[in-house]
């Protein structure tokens, strides 16, 4: 049904998406927690910075990544000289672009669920002898889990759909950075690429639906029926 090239595109997209989410999730959780619970000046600025990739043209985000993570950029130079890592034109670069683009969506979803956690339950845990970390692990984290799952699904969907920042920062290199949307774009340009566009678009629909169904099932398994709907 699918050609070897198309399977490879799907596998690459999933790899890029998975790595992007793994990279973003801890960062997004910390940011969401700070934005939900933090009381300090400058929180508005932090909020705005986190949301920037959501409102900026993705090409601009990609260009900013190019400036920062390119071979001459401040971060890129350290990465290549100290760690021997280059992101430009590599699948890791596509993952970074997807991670940055999905960050605001994940932060939003997780933040809402942390704000919904009743702090009075955390107080109760403290009076029962639990320190701040145990309280976090046993009360705050499990109760905000539906939002974390929602964030993962939203972030994964965003990663799989990422186009502008990826093509600007990581380019459209077959087998390296050509994820689903970039492959669809390339197929549209190529003569006789119609059939491939149909198949890749169908895969996109199937992947998105699968992600939604999976998150729904996971949400139900946390045992909080009415919170099962994460989106």
């Amino acid at each position: 049904m699918l050609s070897a090239e198309e399977w490879q595109i799907v596998a690459l997209s999933l790899k890029v998406g998975a790595v992007a989410i793994a990279l973003t999730l801890p960062v997004a959780f910390v940011l969401a927690w700070v934005l939900a619970r933090g009381r300090f000046r400058g929180i508005v600025l932090l909020d705005a910075l986190v949301h920037l990739p959501l409102v900026l043209p993705p090409v601009v985000t990609g260009w900013l990544l190019l400036i920062a993570f390119g071979p001459a950029g401040p971060v890129g130079r350290v990465l290549s000289q100290v760690f021997g890592i280059t992101l430009l034109f590599r699948w890791t670069g596509a993952a970074l672009a997807a991670a940055v683009m999905s960050l605001p969506l994940m932060v939003r979803a997780i933040r809402l669920s942390i704000e919904a956690v009743d702090t009075r339950l955390e107080q109760a845990a403290r009076t029962l002898g639990a320190g701040p970390w145990r309280t976090f692990a046993t009360i705050t984290l499990p109760l905000s889990l539906p939002g974390v799952l929602a964030g993962v699904v939203l972030g994964l969907a965003r990663s799989l759909g990422e186009f502008g920042a990826t093509i600007t920062f990581a380019s459209n290199i077959p087998g390296e950075t050509r994820t689903l949307p970039l492959a669809i774009y390339a197929a549209l340009q190529a003569p006789g690429g119609d059939a491939m566009v149909w198949r890749l678009a169908a895969i996109s629909v199937v992947l998105s639906l699968a992600a939604l169904v999976a998150s729904e099932a996971l949400g139900r398994r946390t045992g909080m029926g009415r919170h099962g709907h994460v989106l």
Partner: protein
């Protein structure tokens, strides 16, 4: 001295000051709603930081603004039964009861799960989720959870306010048995004169306007 409290705190823009020493088995904070009774319980348990003063329970200083002592709630050994109970909704009754359970509570109350269940008559509820409990059942589970955390004292915030008359009698009897059989000092908040007179050996009046 079970409770030695002298503190002032600000809550909702208002000054609340209270001072009492009590060795009674049950000490009641009595007054109309809005007098700051709950805030005093929160200060004793470490959930609310007073502006200044001193809080000592069973001879141990938990808070002292001049000596810069301020123990976190988890190290105060104060079992707290909240007015809104605050059972953990994602955990079974058994998991709620065992949340703060310690094999060695030091000088605190030593109690096993089956003892607490028998004491409160809640054995049959262990597998249930908190949202399926009736008001009286949830109240007893909340008391059990606090008892099992090995507390040195028990703080009860309007434990009877949300209950109908038969349940109220039931929980009142439980509190009397904690007083007489477990001999655990209690600090009780209430605005019901009858309840306070029946349970408490020492009553601290908290009028509405304190400056």
């Amino acid at each position: 001295m079970s409770f030695d409290v002298d503190l002032s705190l600000t809550r909702g823009g208002r000054q609340i000051a209270v001072r009492f020493r009590s060795d009674a088995p049950v000490t009641a904070l009595f007054g109309p709603s809005g007098a700051g009774k709950t805030s005093v319980l929160e200060a004793v348990s470490g959930l609310l930081r007073p502006d200044r003063g001193r809080i000592a329970v069973a001879g141990e200083a938990l808070f002292d603004s001049t000596a810069r002592i301020n123990l976190p709630p988890e190290r105060r050994g104060c079992g707290f039964v909240f007015q809104d109970l605050r059972l953990f909704p994602h955990r079974t009754v058994r998991q709620n009861l065992l949340y703060g359970h310690r094999a060695d509570p030091g000088p605190g109350l030593r109690m096993a799960l089956d003892e607490a269940c028998a004491f409160l008559g809640i054995e049959h509820l262990l597998a249930r989720m908190p949202r399926t409990l009736s008001g009286g059942e949830a109240q007893r589970v909340a008391i059990g959870r606090a008892l099992l955390s090995g507390p040195g004292v028990l703080l009860l915030d309007e434990p009877l306010a949300a209950l109908d008359a038969p349940r109220r009698e039931e929980v009142m009897a439980v509190i009397e048995r904690i007083r007489d059989e477990l001999r655990l000092p209690m600090l009780l908040v209430s605005h019901q004169r009858a309840e306070v007179e029946r349970l408490a050996g020492h009553v601290v009046e908290m009028p509405l306007s304190m400056t």
